[in-house]
Amino acid sequence: MTDPQILIVSPANTAAGRVGRVVRDVTRALPMADVLVVDDGSADRTAAEASEAGAITLSLPVNSGYGATLQTGYKYGVRHHYDVIGQIDGDGQHQGEYLPVMLEALRQADADLVVGSRFLDRDGHYRPSLARQVGIGLFARVASVVTRQHISDPTSGFQLMRIGVARFFCSEVYPTDYPDADILILLHRAGFKVLEVPVKMRPSSGKSMHSGHRSLYYVYKMTLSILVTLLRPRSQHRAS
């Protein structure tokens, strides 16, 4: 892929005041990419602000959750024949300046999905609450064991993927509530190659799209989701 068409999807829920900056950061980092903000039924000016900042916007008529919002972006990217789809949270937690590094990793390493990991550096710049730390650590371990590769940040929503992965995610295999370690395992079993690159993240400012899931439910949901993913027959969707 010499000159890939790139779409950066930014799921945003009540992110007015932050989403504009995200769009501008992405545009500055990857001027050749289109930016798509998918507004998850926000009541504030999220969509308008994204549009003013130069993004293509889609608005979900009702609040549908993080996974459903992201999947809308994948569907858009697949239908408009993009080659690479990236995703960056609209609340400003992820920093667009890392996208070129992630794109380079996608090209160089022949990976299908590149995940920006905030824990790969081990510099301790990012400290979630203890409960989340335990949860993330647990599923990072589980994902690492299952996929037989080191995974440090399965919760990261800062990703860049080839269109084959997005097409795979448009099917019903994708969890529309809260995709996490389970999709990494799903991808591994479908034959896709996942790679982590170190990034820095800002502490999530106030109400993020992820604040809705409580730690205990997160542990339950992820355990069950990983278990049933392993119990299902492998899906062979690898587009080569």
């Binding site: 549009s51 293509i56 889609l58 008529p61 529309t176």
Partner: protein, 133 residues
């Protein structure tokens, strides 16, 4: 043995449920598809209430002491199945709803910076005129 009193209550109750389900289907308030479990519940409860021999051997088979518990047991079992059935349907509906919401969102596409997409606007313009005229 269950008392004649309980037997009458059980027969009347399950018969009433059966007729009510049929009536709901007749008035198209309940789809045939969803009536299956309700119908099964009513028929099995009616059978257990009316047929003393079946109730007696079933009570023995499940290790219950009182025959009335067998009635309750099967009644409760069906209710649990029904609730599970509804959870499955709700999950399916939610999946469909999400897909529809996404399709609607994909139709709301707004492009920023009209200068960059003049060719698209040019294509849309004649249609707008037609609507206005």
């Amino acid at each position: 043995m269950i008392s004649t009193h309980l037997r009458i209550v059980a027969i009347v109750g399950s018969l009433g449920l059966l007729l009510f389900v049929i009536e709901l289907v007749r008035r198209r308030r309940l789809k045939e598809e969803y009536s299956v479990l309700w119908m099964a519940t009513a028929v099995v409860l009616l059978l257990l209430a009316a047929w003393g021999g079946l109730l007696r051997s079933l009570t023995h088979a499940i290790g219950a002491v009182a025959q009335s518990s067998t009635l309750y047991f099967f009644g409760l079992l069906f209710v649990i199945f029904l609730l599970l059935h509804f959870s499955v349907r709700v999950s399916l509906l939610e999946r469909r709803l999400t897909a529809l919401v996404q399709e609607i969102a994909l139709l709301t596409e707004k492009r920023a910076g009209p200068a960059q997409h003049e060719e698209e606007l040019a294509e849309e313009a004649p249609e707008d005129d037609a609507v206005n005229a």
